[in-house]
Symmetry: C2
Subunit: 355 residues, 2 copies
Amino acid sequence: MSTQTISPDIIDAHTAKSAVDAALLNFLEDRRKNSGRRQMAGLIDLLTEFMAGGKRIRPALTVLGWQAAGGESGESAVVRVAASLEMFHAFALIHDDVMDDSDTRRGRPTVHRLLAGQGADNRTERFGLGAAVLLGDLAFAWSDQLLHTAELAPGQLAAVLPLVTEMRTEVMLGQYLDLEATGELTDDIDATLLVNRYKTAKYTVERPLHIGAALAGAGPEAMAACTAYALPLGEAFQLRDDLLGVYGDVRDTGKSRLDDLRAGKNTTLVALALRAGTETQAARLRALIGDPHLDEAGAEEVRGLFAATGARDTVERMIDDRYRQALRALDAAPFTAGAVTELKHLAVTATRRNS
Amino acid sequence: MSTQTISPDIIDAHTAKSAVDAALLNFLEDRRKNSGRRQMAGLIDLLTEFMAGGKRIRPALTVLGWQAAGGESGESAVVRVAASLEMFHAFALIHDDVMDDSDTRRGRPTVHRLLAGQGADNRTERFGLGAAVLLGDLAFAWSDQLLHTAELAPGQLAAVLPLVTEMRTEVMLGQYLDLEATGELTDDIDATLLVNRYKTAKYTVERPLHIGAALAGAGPEAMAACTAYALPLGEAFQLRDDLLGVYGDVRDTGKSRLDDLRAGKNTTLVALALRAGTETQAARLRALIGDPHLDEAGAEEVRGLFAATGARDTVERMIDDRYRQALRALDAAPFTAGAVTELKHLAVTATRRNS
């Protein structure tokens, strides 16, 4: 991302990330000092390590939403709210990995695997699962503490809290829809796009932008412009994620490209392949996707079917359509010029990334 | 509990419970109306049924704390905060049952069992677990929404929010200590009392009282008096719970009296028996407690060992000591007379109950 300063008063993307990282580290260090218990310090260390690996996309969007709506002073409160969203995201990821029983995240074992320890047996696996649920719960509680201690003005708090509630509820509904769909493959493309909308587009892009914009006192028009940009871009972001889950390199993505296939994730990519494929191709996809013992050869066969059915190309086209739609929304948005430049830049990195 | 009205302006315990129930039902009904999705409505129904069975001890203590500190007007805000704590408790119980892999709660299958469905296989069990984690997360998010929409005065909010944060963090630490201790039986009585303190005494009694008192603008003296009453009573409450977990009748408690023993819960009762028992008795206890296939005959043998080692009598004596200590604290407390009467009454029901 550009490190150009947009205005003397407005922090640039690089500075924003550093400021959010510093806010998170300070907060965790404070909690460690006040924990009083060895066990709590251990959990905080684990959370600190886990959080070191994030892309900070939600905090970046919070700061950009604020800038887009003309925010000029009170950066420290914005940074703290942005840090709160990142802490909430740590909660969401830790629980997501428990629910999906994933092995790796951000290039390391997942939190429940780390807590279970090496050579885990049934008992330590249960411990890992329970302790990871709890560490996620702590991150949730602490994301709320970060928000409450951001020293927002009463009007800011009143504008932000309903958005935070909806963001939380929406991502949980998205996760639930995802969970329901997992393991039951369908060619219902709309159903997969609905999960995408709740789980990613609203949660990862729209709500962080809204929350940042609300901090700057944005009116309905600016909020609607955030949505017009965020939903197509968020969908494109998730579609890219679906592709990376199958085609990505673990050295870039930090997670195995067998996980989604083994778990039987009913992504848009999968639904498109089932819809476009012959009966034989669809049957083969159903046999392979969701097999917990799927190996690299099986995954390669799935990738071949995604290519042969045209599903991969269709997803690339859908990403491109949505990318363009997001850019068009920016042309009509009542945003500050500097923020528009940054949001365009972000639209590229979110859809063209390899990690 | 008494239904006598303490003052014309102050709601009595029975009215408080009804008011909290009404606030919870209204809130859930609102969320159902705005959910937009069939799946969300289903989750809300499940949560509503789950919440119907609670004793509402934390909301009662919130209202009593407020009354004790001289609260006289603004009942509706107090009721809403009390409802928020009950919603948080739904979150804590749903996750607790996932972590302990319990079968029953409040006389019904636990939430993760209900979500897994009857005749659950491996896949539906994973679904039940994941969906229960999510439903707990939703209850957490909504407890926060109940709090934010209580229309508290700025001073009330500033007094309450740090207490809410500590309450959340403390119960999670308590759960973590409990999880660490489960399955690794020790005769470390202090360690079991430490878990008790975080998991129950502070969470169930001290913090709800504090939060209620803070809503009435309580100063340090009243807050300290809440603690002096709450910690011994809360410990006694948990010690009673430990006994009920082994000796209670499922028709009263709503949960199997094999669950704690099968899970290998390292309660104070267990630690006392291991400490006081002969080597043979201790070895027998270690063989039986934590055996996932323990049957009623095995449980009866454990109960016999709790009696023979004197552990059961010691726990009864500890409950009685703490009950008296809580009453003495009330004698010295700067509380309103009506609230003292109610708190004494509550000390009896919390320590003498059979459910």
